[in-house]
């Protein structure tokens, strides 16, 4: 078999003749990947997320050179990094600030998808892989947060692992198996370290590659929600597309300048962010006998943590009412008898598990179920959203209000989760929990209501 006929010269030509897949990949994903020319500021966050991943990998590798995953040494090895390793504080703050920025950037990236219907057909798989990345990121952050072995690390892990306790029958053995000890201990710390530095990063990188492959097969969406592949030029290239490289590589580098401005401002001037990015109690070594007066997860978990706490025994009846209404709505929507019987049965079983005292599941378990649902339900958006147009630009004006209410509920839940509960705050959290799930569960109905504007065949774009 001969050499591949190459178009490149010199060393690149030599390589291309022997390994043409390298430059084929470059063309497929960079120089001949056509992205819509009307990207706006929301489209920066994907590349920002990739940048943060690189920052986390590099700073993580450096931290692992000084950190000791041992319950007697972990806390002090972090202090050693902060005080005695040359530039250690910088590497550590890069990593801790990077963690919070990862979530900021990913939440904005997801919100972009919501605004412009980026998850709609044919991009469902891009979105599902994205949801998995989000879950992997939460796992990565949870495992990583135990490593400094402060009071918050310890008790946060203790509370979250104890969530599994509420699973009937296997719960207690399962949480023992996860901890590897009767309480969070050395065994837990060591395995979390292993997950944090090997397992989850590998999964994350694999998922990010899958996310980009899936995206590049179907092509990017854009603020107009117009399929640019429907309008091709004589050579089969999208009329409204421009090659990702050099146009968007340069464009994203420009955006990264602003990203680093914000990132460095926090890194150098407010790495603890007033106790939000690094919690005060975590500067006290872990003590299994002394629970801090107030336990809160890091800010990016607090909306879901609020949902968990909002699920009290008083909330059960409202949950039951909501389930019944939801069942009735789906029942009326379905036409087939078999589907209707299935929905009626499922609603009945859920209603019984929520209300009948003899068989109902603990509010604690329902809290865990709702929390798990609140982080995974994003994956169902491609099917929940039934709007005839993708982009918010061509949807009825009040759809923006609905999305606004959802974002507000999310923010309020996040705020409440940072603070200790009071009866009044719990009530607000319950209302916001209802808004949160109402937004998703009622989407098949509200998203098709109202007057939609005509969608143009080409993207709206004014040359600068």
């Amino acid at each position: 078999m001969g050499l591949h006929a190459t178009q490149y010269k010199g060393l690149l030509g030599w390589i291309d003749a022997r390994m043409p897949s390298l430059m084929t990949a470059f063309r497929t994903h960079m120089s001949e990947y056509y992205a819509p020319k009307n990207f706006n500021v929301w489209y920066f966050f994907g590349s920002f997320a990739l940048m943060v991943l690189v920052i986390q990998l590099v700073s993580g590798i450096l931290l692992a050179m000084h950190y000791k995953p041992d319950s007697n040494m972990a806390f002090w090895s972090v202090e050693f990094i902060m005080r005695e390793v040359s530039g250690g504080w910088f590497i550590r703050y890069m990593h801790s600030t990077g963690a919070s920025f990862f979530f900021i950037v990913v939440y904005l990236h997801m919100f972009r998808g919501l605004l412009y219907g980026s998850y709609r057909k044919p991009r469902e798989l891009v979105w599902i892989v994205g949801t998995l990345i989000f879950l992997a990121l939460m796992a990565e952050s949870f495992f990583g947060y135990l490593l400094p072995w402060g009071q918050m690390s310890f008790w946060g892990a203790q509370v979250i692992i104890n969530l599994f306790d509420s699973i009937p029958l296997i719960g207690k053995d399962l949480s023992l198996w996860i901890r590897g000890d009767y309480v969070v201990g050395d065994a837990t710390l060591n395995r979390f370290y292993s997950f944090h530095i090997v397992l989850v990063p590998l999964a994350l990188i694999g998922l990010v590659v899958a996310h980009i492959f899936a995206l590049h097969d179907v092509g990017s969406n854009n603020p107009d929600g117009v399929e640019i592949k429907d309008q091709l030029d004589a050579r089969g290239r999208p009329l409204d597309g421009i090659p990702f490289h050099p146009y968007y590589t340069v464009h994203d580098l420009y955006g990264l300048g602003f990203f680093f401005l914000a990132y460095c401002a926090v890194l150098f001037f407010a790495p603890e962010m007033g106790g939000v990015f690094l919690e005060g109690n975590n500067f006290i070594p872990a003590d299994a006998f002394q629970t801090p007066l107030h336990i809160a997860p890091l800010w990016y978990f607090t909306p879901y943590y609020s949902i968990l706490r909002a699920t009290t025994s008083d909330f059960m009846i409202w949950l039951a009412v909501g389930t019944a209404c939801m069942g009735a709505l789906i029942y009326l929507r379905l036409r087939g008898t078999r589907g209707r019987i299935g929905v009626a049965l499922a609603t009945f079983v859920l209603f019984v598990l929520l209300t009948v005292p003899q068989v109902r599941l603990d509010p604690k378990l329902w809290g865990v179920i709702l929390m798990a649902l609140s982080v995974t339900i994003f994956g169902a958006l491609p099917w929940l959203d039934q709007s005839p147009v993708k982009s918010i630009r061509y949807r009825p004006g009040w759809h923006r209000v609905v999305i606004g209410v959802f974002v507000a509920a999310f923010a309020v839940l996040g705020y409440l989760g940072i603070n200790p509960p009071t009866p009044g705050r719990t009530l607000v959290a319950q209302v916001c929990t209802a808004c949160y799930f109402g937004f998703f569960f009622l989407m098949p109905w509200w998203s098709r209501m109202g007057t939609f504007k005509p969608v143009p065949s080409r993207v709206t774009f004014a040359a600068h």
């Binding site: 008790w155 203790q158 509370v159 692992i161 104890n162 969530l163 306790d165 023992l176 198996w177 996860i178 590897g180 000890d181 009767y182 309480v183 201990g185 065994a187 395995r191 299994a288 006998f289 002394q290 629970t291 801090p292 007066l293 107030h294 336990i295 706490r309 009290t312 025994s313 008083d314 603990d362 509010p363 604690k364 509960p421």
Partner: protein, 211 residues
């Protein structure tokens, strides 16, 4: 080249019947391989459980209770958990008698954290001897360690009751570890296995008489 590959795939492509012997060999290989994989998975899954050292550390612990002043709480480590020994004063014991209506599970009937029979002869004290209350000091809600004992009026969440208060989510317990109603925790504080060796010496982690 592709054409030659297709013919190399053989009878299946050309519509000829499958060779049952080969098919059986493939199925057998998959089954045996599958059993092998499960065999490998067992030690891997088991490696996540507590190690022998941690199990040994979970063994019984002896406590000298004669040194605990009346009204005071001593915390002992057992299985890495805080175990409380509270020397209850007569007033503390009295406080347990008349508030069953305020408790979620006054007779410790729930089975999530089974209360041993030998401490339930008097369900109000949940102890072998009323003066010494032994319990695992971990909240049954999400595993934080409650504070206390608080006298009436000392803790606003407890009001005029004696008890313990969990800072994480606000559960309150009486001085027999019984949880008050409408709190996040549904279960009373767990009672570890324990027994008296002498009047002054308690072993936490085993109760031979019941075995």
């Amino acid at each position: 080249m592709t054409a030659s590959l297709q013919t190399a795939e053989g009878p299946a492509e050309s519509g000829a019947p499958l060779d049952p012997e080969r098919r059986a060999a493939v199925v057998t290989a998959c089954l045996v391989g599958g059993v092998g994989c499960i065999g490998v998975a067992v030690p891997i899954v088991e490696s996540f459980g507590p190690s022998e050292r941690e199990k040994a550390a979970g063994g019984p612990v002896e406590v000298d209770i004669s040194s605990i002043p009346v009204g005071q709480l001593k915390v002992i480590e057992w299985q890495g958990k805080p175990v409380w020994v509270l020397h209850r004063s007569p007033a503390m014991i009295e406080s347990l008698k008349n508030h069953d209506a305020l408790l979620a599970d006054p007779a410790s009937k729930r089975t999530a954290y089974p209360t041993p029979d030998y401490v339930l002869k008097d369900p109000t004290t949940r102890s072998i001897k009323p003066e010494f209350f032994v319990a695992v000091g971990i909240c049954t809600h999400l595993g934080c360690s409650p504070g206390g004992p608080f006298a009436p009026g000392e803790n606003p969440q407890l009001g005029d009751q004696w008890g313990f208060f969990c800072p994480c989510h606000g559960s309150t317990f009486d001085l027999a570890g019984r949880v008050f109603q409408n709190k996040p925790a549904g279960d009373n504080l767990p009672i570890p296995p324990y027994e008296y060796v002498t009047d002054a010496l308690v072993v936490i982690g085993e109760h031979k008489k019941s075995a």
